[in-house]
């Protein structure tokens, strides 16, 4: 099943591995990668917190809008699930968060 997700729009300081250009964008989960230490804590020597990591696929249309070079080309990025929220697919159905 296609899982649609949206990257949260928050802008916290610190060692964040979610690129700003993807915040607020909708994508689909390409594959699940297992659990990894959350770098936002690990970078500061804080107690290890494991977070599921997934690869999310975005269309260039979704990321760049009309400025996209080719709307159907894609971009995949690894995003920790605490950065993802429930997405709404094109026909308006709500999908579950990972």
């Amino acid at each position: 099943m296609v899982e649609t997700v949206r990257v949260k729009t928050m802008m916290p300081p610190g060692h964040v591995r979610t690129p700003a250009y993807l915040r607020g964008k909708y994508g689909v989960i390409e594959r699940k990668l297992g659990e990894f230490a959350n770098p936002e804590r690990a970078a500061y020597g804080l107690k290890k917190e494991m977070q599921p990591l997934v690869r999310v696929r975005f269309s260039m249309q979704e990321i760049w809008g009309d400025a996209a070079e080719n709307p159907d080309d894609t971009l995949d990025a690894e995003i920790y699930v605490h950065w993802l929220e429930k997405g709404v697919d094109e026909i308006g159905g709500v999908t579950d968060a990972p």
């Binding site: 250009y21 990894f36 990591l53 990321i63 070079e69 080309d73 971009l75 995949d76 690894e78 920790y80």
Partner: protein, 218 residues
């Protein structure tokens, strides 16, 4: 004699005999991070955690990694369908199977097909499959490549000499977290019956990053 250039030659000013400027001596004070690196290294040695020889060995090991390692993996995947399947399922394990010690690296292989072309980038820093391919080229770490290839990949690829047909889907992979990537390029036409060893000579570093394709058979 109207001129005497001895002084210039002696002071290494101006151009070298081959017409290049001499590199300046690095007489400036250490930067913050250079001091930090030296302090960390000296502490590790002082506390008996590492020896200078172990550090030198590790640097040697990193320097010995080169694109030829990745090329051997790609060529094997071209001639051995079962290996290719294992590579696409778990590229770390498949690289270890070929004898490449890639440490804890989590590697994903991305297959180029007749209608899909993959390209890797790290927009946040310079993540690169170093443990398999060695150090990244300077341009891979440049702000220009990192910011442009996610927005206008076709234009960037054209600058590398690779113009893709409109019907090909470009897939960019941003190494944002714990994975590293290697592109499995398509096997060149006209190489039927070639050995993995000969095929490996056609696999370029750029073709494993996705900004190029393998060389054509001569």
């Amino acid at each position: 004699m109207p001129h005497d250039h001895h002084d210039d030659d002696f002071h290494h000013s101006g151009m070298s005999p081959s017409g290049h400027p001499y590199r300046e001596d690095d007489d400036h004070p250490l930067t913050y991070w250079q001091t930090m690196e030296i302090a960390m290294r000296e502490l590790l040695i002082e506390k008996g955690i590492l020896t200078p020889a172990e550090i030198a060995t590790q640097i040697d090991e990193m320097d010995s990694r080169e694109p030829a390692n990745g090329a051997a993996v790609v060529a094997r995947a071209w001639v051995d369908p079962a290996f290719k399947e294992r590579l696409l399922a778990d590229a770390s394990e498949a690289s270890r199977e070929m004898g490449y010690d890639i440490g804890p690296l989590r590697l994903i292989a991305l297959e180029n097909t007749a209608d899909t072309h993959n390209v890797i980038v790290c927009t946040l820093c310079s993540c690169y499959p170093r443990n398999l391919l060695g150090l990244p080229p300077d341009w891979y770490k440049s702000r220009s490549y990192r910011s442009r290839v996610v927005k206008e990949p076709r234009k960037v690829l054209a600058e590398f000499g690779l113009t893709l047909p409109d019907g090909t889907t470009v897939r960019i992979h941003d190494s944002t977290a714990d994975m590293r990537y290697i592109v499995l390029p398509a096997r060149p036409n006209g190489t039927e019956g070639w050995s993995a060893e000969n095929l490996a000579n056609l696999v370029t570093r750029d073709s494993m990053i996705g900004v190029g394709i393998p060389k054509s058979p001569a």
